[in-house]
Protein backbone atom coordinates (compact mmCIF):
# COMPACT_ATOMS: atom_id res chain seq x y z
CA UNK A 1 0.00 0.00 0.00
CA UNK A 2 0.98 3.62 0.06
CA UNK A 3 3.45 4.77 2.62
CA UNK A 4 5.55 7.83 3.16
CA UNK A 5 8.51 7.56 5.47
CA UNK A 6 11.25 9.78 6.80
CA UNK A 7 14.90 8.86 7.26
CA UNK A 8 15.55 10.79 10.50
CA UNK A 9 13.16 11.62 13.31
CA UNK A 10 15.27 14.57 14.60
CA UNK A 11 17.67 16.88 12.81
CA UNK A 12 19.80 19.36 14.73
CA UNK A 13 21.57 22.18 12.85
CA UNK A 14 23.42 25.36 13.69
CA UNK A 15 21.80 28.69 12.95
CA UNK A 16 22.88 29.89 9.54
CA UNK A 17 23.60 26.41 8.19
CA UNK A 18 21.60 24.78 5.45
CA UNK A 19 19.15 22.01 6.44
CA UNK A 20 18.14 19.01 4.39
CA UNK A 21 15.14 16.93 5.37
CA UNK A 22 14.61 13.70 3.47
CA UNK A 23 11.53 11.66 2.70
CA UNK A 24 10.97 8.35 0.92
CA UNK A 25 7.69 7.31 -0.65
CA UNK A 26 6.55 3.99 -2.03
CA UNK A 27 3.68 4.82 -4.38
CA UNK A 28 5.12 5.17 -7.87
CA UNK A 29 1.75 6.55 -9.03
CA UNK A 30 1.93 9.60 -6.76
CA UNK A 31 1.48 12.77 -8.79
CA UNK A 32 1.82 15.49 -6.19
CA UNK A 33 4.08 16.08 -3.19
CA UNK A 34 4.01 18.70 -0.47
CA UNK A 35 5.95 19.81 2.58
CA UNK A 36 4.35 21.20 5.71
CA UNK A 37 5.81 22.80 8.82
CA UNK A 38 4.05 22.26 12.13
CA UNK A 39 4.78 24.22 15.27
CA UNK A 40 3.60 23.07 18.67
CA UNK A 41 -0.15 23.52 19.13
CA UNK A 42 -0.66 24.67 15.54
CA UNK A 43 -1.94 23.09 12.38
CA UNK A 44 0.41 22.20 9.51
CA UNK A 45 1.55 25.23 7.53
CA UNK A 46 2.17 24.89 3.81
CA UNK A 47 5.80 25.38 2.78
CA UNK A 48 6.21 24.22 -0.80
CA UNK A 49 4.80 21.66 -3.22
CA UNK A 50 5.87 19.95 -6.42
CA UNK A 51 4.15 17.94 -9.11
CA UNK A 52 5.52 14.71 -10.47
CA UNK A 53 6.41 16.27 -13.83
CA UNK A 54 9.04 18.43 -12.11
CA UNK A 55 12.39 17.62 -10.45
CA UNK A 56 12.98 20.81 -8.53
CA UNK A 57 11.07 23.78 -7.26
CA UNK A 58 12.33 26.76 -5.34
CA UNK A 59 10.65 29.12 -2.93
CA UNK A 60 11.92 31.69 -0.53
CA UNK A 61 14.87 30.01 1.26
CA UNK A 62 13.38 26.58 0.50
CA UNK A 63 13.92 24.12 -2.31
CA UNK A 64 12.16 20.82 -2.90
CA UNK A 65 13.86 18.10 -4.94
CA UNK A 66 12.03 15.11 -6.34
CA UNK A 67 13.82 11.98 -7.53
CA UNK A 68 11.20 9.71 -9.03
CA UNK A 69 13.73 7.03 -9.93
CA UNK A 70 14.43 6.23 -6.28
CA UNK A 71 11.14 7.66 -4.94
CA UNK A 72 12.86 10.27 -2.82
CA UNK A 73 11.82 13.77 -1.83
CA UNK A 74 13.89 16.32 0.02
CA UNK A 75 13.38 19.77 1.51
CA UNK A 76 16.32 22.11 1.65
CA UNK A 77 16.21 25.16 3.91
CA UNK A 78 18.90 27.76 3.31
CA UNK A 79 20.42 29.80 6.16
CA UNK A 80 18.34 28.04 8.81
CA UNK A 81 16.93 30.34 11.47
CA UNK A 82 15.61 29.66 15.00
CA UNK A 83 12.11 30.28 13.69
CA UNK A 84 12.52 27.27 11.43
CA UNK A 85 12.49 24.96 14.45
CA UNK A 86 9.40 22.77 14.07
CA UNK A 87 8.26 19.36 12.86
CA UNK A 88 8.32 18.97 9.10
CA UNK A 89 6.01 16.57 7.27
CA UNK A 90 6.16 15.38 3.73
CA UNK A 91 2.97 14.18 2.11
CA UNK A 92 1.98 12.72 -1.22
CA UNK A 93 -1.18 12.31 -3.23
CA UNK A 94 -1.72 9.26 -5.31
CA UNK A 95 -3.22 9.52 -8.77
CA UNK A 96 -7.00 9.51 -8.51
CA UNK A 97 -7.00 10.33 -4.81
CA UNK A 98 -7.62 13.74 -3.31
CA UNK A 99 -6.53 13.18 0.28
CA UNK A 100 -2.88 13.38 1.26
CA UNK A 101 -0.83 10.57 2.78
CA UNK A 102 1.54 11.94 5.41
CA UNK A 103 4.85 10.76 6.75
CA UNK A 104 5.50 10.65 10.49
CA UNK A 105 7.54 13.88 10.58
CA UNK A 106 11.07 15.12 11.25
CA UNK A 107 11.79 17.48 14.10
CA UNK A 108 14.20 20.25 13.12
CA UNK A 109 16.10 21.84 16.00
CA UNK A 110 18.08 24.98 15.25
CA UNK A 111 20.91 25.67 17.67
CA UNK A 112 21.84 29.35 18.17
Amino acid sequence: GESVGLHLPTLSVQEGDNSIINCAYSNSASDYFIWYKQESGKGPQFIIDIRSNMDKRQGQRVTVLLNKTVKHLSLQIAATQPGDSAVYFCAERGTGRRALTFGSGTRLQVQP
Partner: protein, 114 residues
Protein backbone atom coordinates in the same frame (compact mmCIF):
# COMPACT_ATOMS: atom_id res chain seq x y z
CA UNK B 1 -12.22 34.58 7.66
CA UNK B 2 -8.69 34.51 6.36
CA UNK B 3 -7.95 30.93 7.34
CA UNK B 4 -9.56 27.66 8.31
CA UNK B 5 -11.28 28.01 11.66
CA UNK B 6 -11.94 25.08 13.99
CA UNK B 7 -13.87 24.91 17.24
CA UNK B 8 -13.56 24.11 20.01
CA UNK B 9 -9.78 24.29 20.26
CA UNK B 10 -9.85 21.83 23.14
CA UNK B 11 -12.48 19.32 24.21
CA UNK B 12 -12.40 17.04 27.24
CA UNK B 13 -15.19 14.52 27.63
CA UNK B 14 -16.00 11.28 29.33
CA UNK B 15 -15.85 7.93 27.60
CA UNK B 16 -19.17 7.07 26.03
CA UNK B 17 -20.25 10.65 25.35
CA UNK B 18 -20.86 12.05 21.86
CA UNK B 19 -18.80 14.99 20.58
CA UNK B 20 -19.17 17.40 17.68
CA UNK B 21 -16.23 19.21 16.13
CA UNK B 22 -16.72 22.15 13.80
CA UNK B 23 -14.74 23.36 10.81
CA UNK B 24 -15.25 26.62 8.91
CA UNK B 25 -13.17 26.47 5.69
CA UNK B 26 -11.59 29.32 3.77
CA UNK B 27 -14.26 31.27 1.92
CA UNK B 28 -14.60 30.03 -1.65
CA UNK B 29 -12.90 26.69 -1.04
CA UNK B 30 -15.04 23.83 -2.29
CA UNK B 31 -12.92 20.95 -1.03
CA UNK B 32 -12.82 20.14 2.69
CA UNK B 33 -10.85 17.41 4.46
CA UNK B 34 -10.75 15.98 7.97
CA UNK B 35 -7.60 14.34 9.35
CA UNK B 36 -6.65 12.92 12.73
CA UNK B 37 -3.23 13.31 14.35
CA UNK B 38 -2.28 11.12 17.27
CA UNK B 39 0.49 12.25 19.61
CA UNK B 40 3.82 12.45 17.81
CA UNK B 41 2.40 10.99 14.62
CA UNK B 42 1.62 12.10 11.13
CA UNK B 43 -1.85 12.90 9.91
CA UNK B 44 -4.39 10.19 9.12
CA UNK B 45 -7.08 10.92 6.52
CA UNK B 46 -10.68 10.59 7.70
CA UNK B 47 -13.12 12.06 5.18
CA UNK B 48 -13.21 14.39 2.17
CA UNK B 49 -15.98 16.61 0.74
CA UNK B 50 -15.99 18.19 -2.72
CA UNK B 51 -18.87 20.46 -3.60
CA UNK B 52 -22.14 18.57 -3.81
CA UNK B 53 -20.52 15.24 -4.61
CA UNK B 54 -20.85 12.25 -2.29
CA UNK B 55 -18.10 12.44 0.34
CA UNK B 56 -15.14 10.07 0.37
CA UNK B 57 -15.55 8.33 3.74
CA UNK B 58 -12.86 5.73 3.17
CA UNK B 59 -10.71 6.91 6.09
CA UNK B 60 -13.34 6.82 8.84
CA UNK B 61 -12.12 4.26 11.42
CA UNK B 62 -15.55 3.04 12.55
CA UNK B 63 -19.27 3.70 12.20
CA UNK B 64 -19.09 5.82 15.35
CA UNK B 65 -17.55 8.53 13.16
CA UNK B 66 -19.62 10.63 10.79
CA UNK B 67 -19.39 14.03 9.17
CA UNK B 68 -21.58 16.38 7.26
CA UNK B 69 -21.10 19.57 5.36
CA UNK B 70 -24.03 21.94 5.18
CA UNK B 71 -24.47 24.42 2.37
CA UNK B 72 -21.08 23.54 0.94
CA UNK B 73 -19.30 25.44 3.70
CA UNK B 74 -19.19 24.56 7.40
CA UNK B 75 -18.53 20.94 8.32
CA UNK B 76 -19.19 19.01 11.51
CA UNK B 77 -17.38 15.82 12.52
CA UNK B 78 -19.34 13.76 15.03
CA UNK B 79 -17.94 10.97 17.16
CA UNK B 80 -20.53 8.87 18.98
CA UNK B 81 -19.89 6.81 22.11
CA UNK B 82 -16.34 8.09 22.37
CA UNK B 83 -13.52 5.72 23.35
CA UNK B 84 -10.14 6.54 24.85
CA UNK B 85 -8.42 5.65 21.57
CA UNK B 86 -10.33 8.53 19.96
CA UNK B 87 -8.11 10.97 21.85
CA UNK B 88 -6.16 12.93 19.24
CA UNK B 89 -5.99 16.25 17.46
CA UNK B 90 -8.62 16.50 14.74
CA UNK B 91 -7.52 18.74 11.88
CA UNK B 92 -9.59 20.23 9.11
CA UNK B 93 -8.20 21.48 5.82
CA UNK B 94 -9.66 23.13 2.74
CA UNK B 95 -8.48 23.74 -0.80
CA UNK B 96 -9.87 25.72 -3.72
CA UNK B 97 -11.11 22.52 -5.29
CA UNK B 98 -10.04 18.91 -5.56
CA UNK B 99 -7.58 19.66 -8.33
CA UNK B 100 -5.90 22.70 -6.88
CA UNK B 101 -3.76 22.11 -3.88
CA UNK B 102 -2.34 22.92 -1.43
CA UNK B 103 -4.62 22.13 1.43
CA UNK B 104 -4.67 24.79 4.11
CA UNK B 105 -5.13 23.58 7.67
CA UNK B 106 -6.80 24.92 10.77
CA UNK B 107 -5.15 24.62 14.18
CA UNK B 108 -7.26 21.62 15.10
CA UNK B 109 -9.37 20.44 18.00
CA UNK B 110 -7.49 18.59 20.72
CA UNK B 111 -9.87 15.88 21.93
CA UNK B 112 -9.22 14.13 25.24
CA UNK B 113 -11.37 11.21 26.35
CA UNK B 114 -11.26 10.47 30.06
Amino acid sequence: GAGVSQSPSNKVTEKGKDVELRCDPISGHTALYWYRQSLGQGLEFLIYFQGNSAPDKSGLPSDRFSAERTGGSVSTLTIQRTQQEDSAVYLCASSFDQYHQPQHFGDGTRLSIL
